[in-house]
Symmetry: C2
Subunit: 668 residues, 2 copies
């Protein structure tokens, strides 16, 4: 006696004939969840087919967490592809899958008119239909059973005239409702969607060292000083304030100015050398203030619509309490000392990495999670994770999974600058957002290729790009050499190519651009190793441009996401042109930027009018939201000219002509 279907999972019955396969979105065969933010739609497609010519019915099943399943119909697209969709309305984890079955009644309904048209006698066919209805009736109780019985009767006793349109409207609905699904095929995997709040997709970050926030020179800045700085940050329009580590800084092997191997007596050290006798990852450095001050900062920031993000840097200075209390979490060298961080021949003797190979890894993992729990209890909901690619993938998957189970509103930004597959693995396993290679993509070809990959391939299902113009570690050559126009161009690119972006300030708005030495991306006199005094009111500050750009972002829903990004042609390679839009085209933004910070550049666009929803026969306006000037354009080919000394980029709102009832026309 044969065993059915070689015992493949779902195919317990050899009569389960429908195949459901090729389901998207699916990452690594369902190994990881896809990502959405609240209110977004999940479009699901699948290959669904059966042997022979039977009609199929196909539904999409979805549920929130382990709640009730909701069913929505899927529709055929042709070539055996089916599509359905559901909208995610809560933060947390959704599941979905696809189910399909042979619908004999539908086959019958489909074929009957063909038989009648061919002039065939259909008496027997009507009896077949009646038998199918009768079958359904046997599965049903109550009034529907009676309805079905009546329909079956009608089919059995139908007159010739009735046969011409023998399928009553209500019957189809009832038969669909009571379809025989005993041999339905459910896709062999249940796929997951992690739903985050909107800030996971759309946010503008400002990175700032609290210790440089003192209003008077020579004093160590404090968290209370940060509170005073909030209006400045809010006026520029940022909604996340990210602070480098605020914990006690180690003394042993402390780095001096410009990363000198020995520190002077007043050098404050790098905030990433975490831990001293005063405490570790759960303490606030006393020079910055108290935990209470931190609470106040979080609260005041929220009144400005700003969230405070903390740095999660899982490493220790030699003076961290862990080193003494948990020697088993660190690797020892044969001379009994603790193994410092290194990338041979480079040594980072002020940093002790955790030894994730330790036998005590479970205790280590638990303690590291307790750090996140601690700061969540202090009101933090966003963590910028330092170098996640130097800690095990399994650890992050566990940590993020555990944290988000209790706090699905928590966001983790992965600061990994490493090989692409490693970066994508981190986003797959759960990081909410990810740093990108944006800082080093300068030419049109580079930008187009990279952002097409990020927004138009499967990558977008798990990787949410976060674009930084600069960081304390990254002062790019482009900024060094391009000066103020380069800063503006990169600001516009970051803020419009990426719904998530950030700047490290005030270095950014003050166009700080002197490298430690030629060829270096390190800042000269980097804030990482000393307290800086920033002249915020300098007249050449970019704060107003930044404010304008962030306002444009908020005003134009087209810029709230990345999926609609499309590049358009321009016949000058120094110009880049791209658009974003909402599905309904109510918001449509077109950016043209001059990638040459040194010279004016001009050219003719080759716009994809269909993407922009424009009628090739109608004029339209492009309204530059940076300068408030408007241009009347027509068709795909339009002239643009950008002088970097005046305005290195346009951020156009595309306004199409609208005719009102009164025959007035205006541009919406």
């Amino acid at each position: 006696m044969p065993d059915p279907g070689n015992d493949r999972g779902m195919e317990l019955d050899g009569r389960r004939r429908v195949v459901v396969t090729g389901v998207v979105p699916e990452i690594d065969g369902g190994r990881f969840a896809v990502k959405r933010t609240i209110g977004e739609q999940v479009d699901v497609e699948a290959d669904v087919f059966v042997d022979g010519h039977d009609a199929l019915a196909c539904v999409l099943l979805h549920r929130f967490q382990d709640g009730e399943w909701t069913e929505t119909p899927m529709a055929p697209l042709g070539n055996d592809r089916w599509r359905g969709a559901f909208t995610v309305t809560k933060i947390g984890r959704y599941e979905f899958t696809v189910q399909a079955w042979v619908d004999r009644f539908m086959s019958w309904v489909r074929d009957l008119p063909k038989r009648i048209e061919a002039g065939q006698e259909v008496r027997i066919e009507l009896l077949i239909g009646a038998a199918l209805v009768e079958d359904a009736r046997r599965r049903v109780a109550g009034p529907d059973a009676e309805h079905l019985a009546r329909y079956a009767d009608a089919l059995r006793n139908g007159t010739r005239e009735e046969q011409e349109s023998p399928i009553p409207a209500g019957l189809g609905a009832l038969m669909q409702k009571y379809a025989d699904r005993r041999l339905a095929t459910t896709y062999e995997r249940t796929l997951a969607v992690v739903v985050d709040r909107e800030r996971a997709r759309f946010s503008a970050w400002y990175e700032m060292f609290p210790r440089s926030c003192a209003p008077t020179p020579g004093r160590h800045g404090t968290l209370m000083d940060c509170i005073q700085r909030l209006p400045y940050v809010a006026e520029m329009g940022f909604d996340v304030l990210y602070l480098p580590p605020i914990h006690p800084i180690g003394h042993t092997h402390r780095k001096g100015k410009n990363n000198a191997t020995t520190a002077g007596p007043t050098d404050p050290g790098s905030p990433w050398a975490i831990g001293s006798e005063a405490g570790g990852h759960k303490a606030v450095q006393s020079e910055l203030g108290t935990l209470n001050d931190f609470h106040r900062l979080v609260e005041r920031a929220s009144q400005f619509g700003i969230e405070v993000a903390l740095d999660l840097a899982y490493q220790c200075s030699a003076d961290h309490p862990y080193v003494r209390e948990h020697p088993e979490w660190f690797r020892r060298r044969p001379d009994g000392t603790v193994q410092y961080a290194e990338n041979p021949p480079k040594k980072y003797e002020d940093i002790y990495p955790f030894d994730f190979d330790t036998n005590a890894w479970r205790e280590l993992w638990a303690e590291l999670k307790s750090i996140v729990d601690f700061w969540i209890a202090q009101g933090v909901r966003i963590f910028r994770v330092d170098n996640p690619h130097t800690k095990p993938f399994a650890f992050w998957e566990w940590l993020i999974g555990e944290v988000k189970r209790d706090h699905p509103e928590v966001l983790f930004l992965a600061e990994a600058f490493t090989r692409p597959k490693v970066m994508y693995r981190l986003s797959r396993l759960g990081f909410t957002q990810s740093y990108t290679y944006f800082a080093w993509r300068n030419t049109r070809a580079e930008l187009t290729e990279y952002f097409t990959e990020l927004t138009q391939t499967d990558v977008r299902e798990h990787y949410r790009p976060h674009l930084w113009t600069n960081t304390p570690d990254i002062l790019t050559e482009f900024l060094q050499l391009g000066g103020r126009p380069a800063f503006i161009t990169r600001l516009v690119l970051a803020a419009t190519l990426g719904a998530g972006y950030g700047v490290y300030g005030p270095a950014f708005e003050l166009c700080e651009r002197v490298p430690r030495e030629p060829g270096s991306e390190e800042y000269l006199d980097s804030e990482k190793y000393e307290i800086k005094r920033w002249e915020l009111d300098r007249p050449d500050s970019l704060r107003e441009v930044i404010a304008r750009v962030n306002q444009i972002r908020r005003d134009n829903p087209a810029l709230w996401g990345d999926r609609s990004l499309r590049f358009h042609g321009v016949d000058n390679e120094q110009l880049i042109c791209y658009s974003k839009r909402t599905d309904d085209l109510a918001s449509c933004v077109l950016v043209v930027a001059n990638l040459d910070p040194h010279h004016p550049q001009a050219g003719w666009t080759a716009l994809d009018l269909a993407t922009l929803g424009l009628d090739p026969e109608q004029p339209y306006q492009v309204h530059d939201l940076l300068t408030d000037s408007r241009f009347l354009w027509h068709g795909a080919r339009n002239y643009v000219e950008l002088d970097p000394r005046r305005a290195p980029a346009h951020i156009f709102r595309v306004r199409r002509r609208v005719r009102t009832e009164q025959q007035f026309e205006y541009y919406a």
Copy 2:
């Protein structure tokens, strides 16, 4: 206490840090086996990486059936991609997977020279190395343990000079042999390879109706007549003789000439209407002879190097014994009659399909398998399966799996002409070879697109294309209108684009090309419904061209497979140009065909010389194996001209210049 890695399969230990993913070849997440033929290589690639900077070791594991695992090293290709390979040497099922681990000793070996070059003191580093060797020693017994102990001692006590090259050659090998794999990651799936004999990849089929093989007119041909026909088939160079069903043919609703709904008293009926009171799928139609005659045919054919392939058409005439003995295997209509085959409004009343939805499906499956077993017992090893897409996928997967478990040498050719996803599903689930859309691909664009998909995408891992010039159901418009040149062109295309191909003869070699009516692909007076008399000796027969083409196929290993197929440019769209080659370039065939059967066409090639292994600076010969003429060519651009009335195609052997030790040159 944290649970490790969210409990994902292999990650039972949170210290299992290496990720192995993106393994190819893999079909549908490992759901199906990839296909190879004996002697072929399986190239395996995987993404393998770990957090941080540790060195990795990576191996490919493979085994035949459930034998011992063999391990071969994989090498990094860059960008975290690794590659390895193994060769399949037996018919049956292989398995493979990938394993990788952090190799701390390799990291140490890699980093030590960097430390020494930087002038660092490495005494402690040597002790670290010694400890790693000592660790390995503890895992080993016997002489290797002593070797390792000595190496550890040497590292502990090394002098400064020894430190300059402190890693003895033998140590690396031992450390690799005894690597600590306790925390190795094995890819989460074991992938399968089904290995067939060579004929699964390279075969030339000849389809022939035995009943038309009688040497004298008016007589029903027999299997003994087929034996007489063998030299004719063998001379043309075919190695598979495929017979339409040879079973008793039903009487009820028998079809007459040209598919007439009523048959005359002498009409033989369609061989696909299987079964009469004389027997069913396990019987031989008495007019054809006996089972003994069939045995003789199989045996004689094998002496000619020809295998007999039988048709597996799972359907019954109304007179089939199954209909009486197993009414439960057929669907009943309300009037008590058996449901005939139909595609509304078309009715095929001479055919009863099996009802695979029957409750008795297990018994039905078993009986259908017993048919295959029966013919295997009669010496058949190749089955051409009629319309597999009208029977459940699960049935075929089970049937083929079961049959090949005991008889891995059995081949199944799927005759499915349906939607692409259905055809690909059939090949995925196990069909050895598959009919293609080749017959309807006539233009260069169509052929290039289709054969690129078949040979250069993942499709090639499961789908072995079988190209038919014509079949009893398919007389294409191209052949109808193009006449003899069209027949030759399509022969050359089928035989060189496809390592597996076939013709339906003698209709093909006699250029039979009159359709039943204009617009039909059916033959007028089709052999499906009547006995034909073929004038095999007609002077315009293509038998000699066919013999030549099949000889070329046998002589040129380039044509024994499809993976090397590459298309080259020609500046005339009516010309198509493509090549096949062996990996070592010892055999390289270049085809140029005129797709216009009506007019001479000429043009200039744009050859991809790298694919052909040609030096752009050296002349080379192209040797037309059809006409034995040779041309001296140079570079990518060469003139070709093909007159369909003389020779519609070139099959060139590419001969490159070879310089011997004696300074003579010739073209190999």
